[in-house]
Amino acid sequence: MLEIRDLQAAYGDIRVLDGVTLTVGPGEIVALLGPNGAGKSTLLNSIAGLLRPRAGAVSFEGEDLGRLHAHRIVDRGVALVPEGRRLFGGMTVAENLELGAFASRARATKAAGLERVFALFPDLRERRRQLVRALSGGQQQMVAVGRALMTNPKLLMLDEPSLGIAPRLVRAIMDALAEINRGGVAVFLVEQNVQAALGLAHRAYVLESGRIALQGPAAELLRDPHVRRAYLGPLAVRE
């Protein structure tokens, strides 16, 4: 469904992605792991159209996304929950969610989408009239996932959804992603919390210094000595 071939991206003279090739199939949950600065966010931003790739191709359902404006990419069914959530803090929960249904693809399904989000995150229903900036980090992350879901995506991409939120809420978010996936939405997840990511994903890639260093089924990577040493810490290696 999503196919990335030999993607190169750079900020000014600093090359960040150095020929990345990967795919996400329909209905899959794919995790992207890697250290800080490996280019994970750059990859997601390139797919979403916030950054123009230097070379290589990003295609979704056979269509080249490299030519489309970011708002058109959303309309094709590719949504990104950006790092740091990037909500509209001066607006209410409901306004944030409704803005998610701005593109024409999502307008028709707005009411159903809102019900879907409230079913996933019941907390948000009670708080829908509150300003987003008054919510906790975990609740804000729920709004961010909800806003992306309101675009009625076929592929949902998330950049570090567990960053800076309470462990209990990380669990709730991961459960929600599994639930979203059961509804037929493919998920592409960038995550520092490797244990949580590999517990959820079917497959995973490891991005290091702008290249794919490793790939395979999530269960296999969880056993891989390099992954355990680099991403799960010394305790995990000793087990």
Partner: protein, 289 residues
Amino acid sequence: MNVLEQQLLLGLFIGGLYGLAAAGLSLVFGVMKVLDVAHGELIMLGGYMTVFVVAFVGLDPFVALLLVIPLSLLLGVALYWGLFSFVVRADEETRVKNSLLIGFGLALALHALAVQLWTADERSIVTPYAGAVITVGELSIPLVRLASLAVAFALIGGLHLLLARWRWGKAIRATAEDWQAALLTGIDVRRAYLLAFAIGTGLAGAAGTLVTVGYSVSPSIGLEWTLKALIVVVLAGLGSMIGTFVGGLLLGVAEAASAATFGGPYREVVGLVIFVVVLVVRPRGLFGR
């Protein structure tokens, strides 16, 4: 005698126009991160449009708003496509610098054009009810200025509703808060920029009408109005049109108070003092988010 009260009242009336002038500038700056220093010249053009609509179509100047506002909106669309659409492609820091260059160039060009077309003379519009006054106690309220304040307030209220309720109004607010996040929700931010600039120019046109009816218009009024609008934007902060309007009223009253206390020449000083004090004490402005 209630000389002071009378002066403060007149300050309130001009303050309403400051607020209206500032609303357009605030909208454009808040949404596009572009500082349109030709905003005062757009007010000046609105004033001349009104002069000609009144002279040739024979409309009452307040009715002329129904023509001046749409014409100004169209002017805004043309200016956006012709000049500012290139600016918004850059990152935010570059946008401000480039917009200053373009804005100053546009201001000079419009000023020169106005002198060529209409000479440097001051013009005003004299309505049949120009001298009408409502007397309340010892205060006399000029009808034209009262009506101007009411129109300015109605326009700001309308703008507030537009931004709060309209689909694209919400998109404009979202773009102002975080344009990349707006893109990710599927908002065409270029369209939001175009709408914000057109609406800002429309408000400038309306302000031009009210300035010309209550006071006068000449090709050189632009800079003064840009400065007043800028002071109000700094005073009020970004993010609330009602707040901007209140900031305009405050500036008008503060100017009148200082003129009454220290004498006429100090009228202009107070705005600049407010400008500096707010920047030092509360950089995001009184009502800023």
